[in-house]
């Protein structure tokens, strides 16, 4: 693999990342002090907060990452590239007021179904897996889009929203790394069972 051959350029790229980060961290508060426009910063924070405001959303996003890690390549990288886009499409439909049937029930079932797939380590053909995940992504995005508060700053809200969603996937994929060990596979399947249980609990709460 090319990556293992550590070239000078690759090394300095890492140094660049670190240095750039350090600089940004060091300078930003001073430079940006008192310049934050209230509305826009608030929009960003609202956007960050929204995807993590409901446990059902959070669990579904993380399970998507877990499942991707179980499936391995190419799903593990196809997923984080396509999911935000599909979800944003759902969000756009929601923003535009386009009605989708069965969003509520779709979201509740997304947790149950995704949890089950992780539990069963189900390996459907790539196309089917993408269709399932894509469907749920549209539902989740749509729900978020409909719920968006009026008057928030659209752009910064969107940035915050996309960042959090992406980070939730990353968390799922990051946890999924344990898949390479035997005990890890077991733990992943167990967490899938937990997600399903939680999903059933949400379903029961809605029905009761």
């Amino acid at each position: 693999m090319i990556g293992d051959h550590r070239t000078h350029a690759a090394f300095s790229a890492r140094a660049m990342i670190r240095a750039a980060l350090a600089m940004v961290v060091a300078l930003w508060p001073v430079l940006a002090w008192a310049h934050a426009e209230q509305g826009r910063a608030a929009g960003f924070l609202a956007g960050v907060h929204h995807p993590i405001s409901g446990l059902d959303h959070v669990l579904a996003m993380i399970s998507v990452g877990l499942w991707g890690a179980q499936l391995g390549a190419p799903a593990i990288w196809l997923l984080p590239v396509t999911f935000p886009v599909v979800m944003a499409m759902g969000g756009m439909l929601g923003l535009l007021g386009v009605h989708l049937p069965g969003v509520e029930i779709g979201i509740i079932f997304s947790g149950i179904v995704l949890g089950l797939t992780v539990f069963a380590e189900w390996r459907p053909p790539m196309g089917l897996a993408a269709a399932i995940v894509g469907c749920f992504a549209v539902f989740h995005g749509h729900a978020h889009g409909v719920e968006l508060p009026a008057g928030a700053s659209g752009l910064t809200y969107s940035i915050g929203f996309v960042m959090t969603t992406g980070t939730l996937h990353a968390v799922g994929i990051g946890i999924g790394v344990i898949h390479r060990w035997g005990w890890g596979r077991l733990a992943l399947r167990a967490s899938g069972a937990c997600v399903t249980t939680a999903g059933l609990f949400f379903l029961w709460k809605v029905l009761a």
């Binding site: 350029a9 300095s12 790229a13 660049m16 240095a19 060091a26 300078l27 001073v30 008192a34």
Partner: protein, 337 residues
């Protein structure tokens, strides 16, 4: 031997733009307004307006509504500042009154406002061109005051194009990473020393000759850069950290002008000094890192500058150094006459 010959012309152009804009007022010395409650509703006022720069800064605090200011003929001209003392009487106290500094919008100067209340509370605000007024009465924490000192230092270095240009000149001469580290550290240590000496009041340097000397230090680097291009060597090229230290002492006095004219309360000077210096170092470090990162980026992208473009930063250092030396010497001579 030479590594930093192929630096980036755009930066030099950016420099010249900033220089053209801010050079006339490159000394960003903040104003200082102090109100000390001596009786209920009565405050002694101390106002320091920076002077002696290359342009006069026309700013003045506006007496808040419902207040009266009496200044019994006490305007003093001190080196670097016009000082006004007086007594401010406000019906019903100073709380919730709006304090504005007129003319601040059109400057690039800040004004530090401190209010000593009779009960020992200390209120402090930093007025800036973007926010030239403040509503009094709020409490300020030590943290807020600290941040405003860091901010002052950071701004001071960002606007001190002459200081940044000197650092750029050093970067153009330095040929290895270790030498770079030594040089930047020497410069930092030297200007920290004189910044402390000047701020604590042990020594002071009048501004006009100091400015001329700082300009001369930049001009000094010009020929050294040319020598480095030619592959020649000199004491400066072999030991840039010595030069950085020697001239750093000079630049430290320059930084101090950003702090000494404020007339800070004695007790707060050490903290202010430290935090102001932190701000200066942050700005300087950011500048050095940015230049190194850009240089690396250009080599990754395999940018080949035309010969003239590659030398533009060096020429910028020499030319602006010469220009400032002449300009500031003329000011110095004009001041003596």
């Amino acid at each position: 031997m030479k590594r930093r010959g192929g630096l980036f012309p755009l930066l030099a152009m950016a420099f010249m733009l900033v220089a053209a804009e801010t050079a006339p007022a490159h000394e960003v010395r903040p104003g200082f307004l102090e109100l000390r409650e001596i009786d209920p509703n009565t405050y002694s006022l101390l106002w320091k307006r920076p002077t002696g720069g290359e342009v006069e800064i026309q700013i003045a605090p506006v007496v808040p509504e419902g207040c009266r200011l009496s200044t019994p003929d006490r305007q003093q001209l001190t080196p670097g500042a016009v000082v006004v003392r007086g007594t401010l009487t406000c019906e019903g106290g100073i709380a919730a009154k709006t304090l504005r500094v007129a003319g601040l919008e059109t400057t690039i100067t800040d004004v530090l406002v401190r209010i000593h209340h009779a009960d020992g509370r200390l209120e402090s605000h930093l007025l800036r061109p973007a926010t030239p007024s403040v509503t009094l009465g709020g409490l300020t924490s030590g943290l807020q005051r600290g941040i405003s000192y860091v901010q002052l230092g950071f701004q001071h270095i960002l606007l001190g194009v002459d200081h940044l240009l000197f650092v750029l000149g050093l970067l153009l001469i330095v040929s290895s990473r270790w030498m770079l580290f030594k040089t930047v550290t020497a410069f930092t240590a030297a200007h920290s020393i004189t910044l402390a000496i000047a701020t604590l009041g042990y020594a002071s340097v009048p501004l006009p000759p100091l400015n001329a000397a700082i300009a001369l230090s930049i001009l000094f680097l010009g020929p050294e850069i040319v020598r480095a291009w030619r592959g020649e060597t000199s004491f400066t090229i072999r030991h840039p950290w010595v030069v950085a230290f020697a001239f750093g002492l000079l630049h430290g006095f320059g930084f101090a002008s950003g702090l000494t004219t404020m007339g800070l309360p004695r007790a707060e000077i050490p903290l202010a000094l430290l935090l102001f210096n932190v701000g200066v170092e942050l700005g300087q470090l950011g500048f050095v890192i940015l230049i190194l990162l850009l240089e690396r980026a250009f080599s990754v992208l395999e940018v080949r500058w035309p010969r003239l473009a590659a030398r533009l930063p060096g020429y910028a250092v020499g030319t602006l150094g010469a220009y400032w030396t002449i300009q500031r010497t003329l000011i110095l001579l004009g001041g003596l006459r």
